[in-house]
Symmetry: C2
Subunit: 156 residues, 2 copies
DNA sequence: CGTAAAATTGCAACATTATAACCTAAGGAC
DNA sequence: GTCCTTAGGTTATAATGTTGCAATTTTACG
């Protein structure tokens, strides 16, 4: 059983949507239909999804199907902190714990494609160690690990 | 003075070329003119460089100027372990310590664009911590930090 | 209300990055 | 030399992402 089916998707999605709505209200931003639907789709897929895949899904539902539509929605959601971009995959994925500012860090299974967010604590610890050694000021960071998840390792 | 000028470029380049040649000999691979020149260019720029920038430079020198030329050379050099790809920039940069298998990790200055390779030791430590917490098997990892380098912080 | 400013969306074109497919040329083994 | 493998040339195309501007919707405010 893939990790993506070990839990209640609908719960994931509704929680994510609630949090996003709350964040918008707090910041005076608008959760418009396209933005809402893109976030839902990102969560429904529940694994990193390309912008053009999302665009195709939107298109099937009667939304506008030009690239700027989905990229603008994604930019908004990234800014809001409810999705992450995985640059080695050119793909987007929902954030597990939105509302707490943190960097992008994922473990991506080569077999099933699921992406698991890394604990912010470990990323912070790495930052601290690096800052001590070098005199950089770290503003953002992005960590992408690949390998086999527990399930796929067991099945292999 | 930018970090890229605090040292002797020519030394960087010749060392990198020597190592690459040695690695090729050890593995029975061919360091052809295009491959050699691409590696030299990557080192000459001494900061992350896009494939199409490299292609333009090659073209000026009479090399073939079609995309596959540079992508094939870059694939070879990546495989050989003498360059890294920085996926958040879609760019390539020379490896500081080739010949020792290691993951991609860079600090990239937002101001001057220089990319400094992170110590493999710290990356390994992060891996170990994560593996203890989760039961992933990590095969590759990629770490891209941004911020200001020491020089640019001072100048700002 | 009514209107003006701001934010969002629609739309068309374009830019950038990367790959596929197929063929030719060069290098090495025998 | 002949054969086989590797590398490079060439053309076309795929995949990803952006710019610019007009039209619309939402909000702010008198
Ligand atoms: Zn997150
Ligand atoms: Zn898996
Ligand atoms: Zn390296
Ligand atoms: Zn700098």
């Amino acid at each position: 059983m893939p990790a993506s089916q070990q839990h209640d998707h609908n719960h994931c999605i509704s929680t994510a949507m609630d949090t996003a709505r709350t964040l918008c209200e707090q910041r005076g931003l608008r959760m418009t239909p396209v933005r809402r639907r893109v976030l839902e789709l990102v969560w429904q897929n529940h694994k990193p999804t390309g912008a053009y895949d999302l665009l195709a899904q939107l298109s099937e539902e009667g939304f506008n199907s030009a690239p700027p539509t989905v990229y603008r929605a994604l930019d908004f959601l990234l800014e809001l902190g409810v999705v992450h971009r995985i640059s080695s995959l050119n793909a987007f994925v929902g954030c597990d714990h939105p509302g707490h500012e943190h960097d992008t860090g994922f473990f991506i299974c080569k077999e099933c494609g699921n992406a698991t967010e890394l604990p912010a604590k470990e990323i912070k610890k790495l930052h601290e160690t690096l800052v001590k050694k070098f005199s950089f000021s770290i503003e953002t960071s992005n960590h992408e690990l690949t390998g086999l998840c527990q399930n796929c390792k067991a099945t292999a």
